[in-house]
């Protein structure tokens, strides 16, 4: 597996260990991971700490120029909130583990000139599918359905 997606998946597994929703994300700049996080809905009683948000928040405040060459890795296709955040900071490149369990706002991102790569990774798919099957209500809550 892509080494950065592997790290995002490790974040997803961390979330699972914490009895949370197993979605992970890392932020890469100049070939190095500079931020990482995972969904913390359960752990923090949070409506906004999706994995991508948690990873971006781990870096704290930054000027716009900081985001101009980063790559955001996420194990699952980004929802409207996370996609909106990608657009706010003009993050140019997003790599997605899989989008079969959930298809987020990939079309909107591409329309706005974000490079969107989908790896269709089996491990990212499996961890999410198993979670959705075991905790469908919690999953629905996380995607607002």
């Amino acid at each position: 597996m892509n080494k950065f997606m592997s790290e995002a998946l490790n974040e997803a597994y961390k979330g699972l260990e914490e009895r949370g929703i197993p979605i992970g994300s890392v932020v890469v700049k100049n070939g190095e991971i500079i931020g990482r996080g995972h969904n913390r809905r359960m752990q923090r009683n949070s409506a906004i700490l999706h994995a991508e948000m948690d990873a971006l928040e781990s870096i704290g405040r930054q000027p716009a120029s900081f985001y101009s060459d980063i790559v955001l890795y996420t194990t699952l296709s980004p929802c409207s909130m996370c996609s909106g955040t990608i657009l706010l900071y003009k993050i140019p490149h997003v790599v997605i583990g899989e989008n079969r369990n959930f298809l987020g706002e990939e079309d909107l991102l591409r329309d706005r000139k974000v490079i969107v790569e989908v790896l269709d990774d089996r491990d990212c798919f499996e961890v999410m599918r198993n979670f959705i099957l075991s905790k469908p209500l919690l999953w629905n809550e996380d995607i607002g359905t």
Copy 2:
């Protein structure tokens, strides 16, 4: 002024007192304020705590049905991130203090059937204009430019 927008503006003033960015938001359900917040970029070294996010986070985890009749008040037109969050949770109605200092994703929200009202409130406009004039770099950071 609209009484709920007045409370959102009070949140903006709280942010200003804390040497933060003066944008405020309240969440209204059944005619009562059930959540409130303000931009905490400075206060929390945060990339994601815009006013609307802070107000929604103040309510914590909720099922999708919870959001189906809420009204989100915000002193300033919502950026891509906050608009994406509105779409994620299918918040049906957003009331905006003003959009002359910053025009967010109102068109996208309307395209997705969100009711968007703009009050063009003078006080909301003034507090934001004064802040932008006094701290333009911080403002640019907050909107990713």
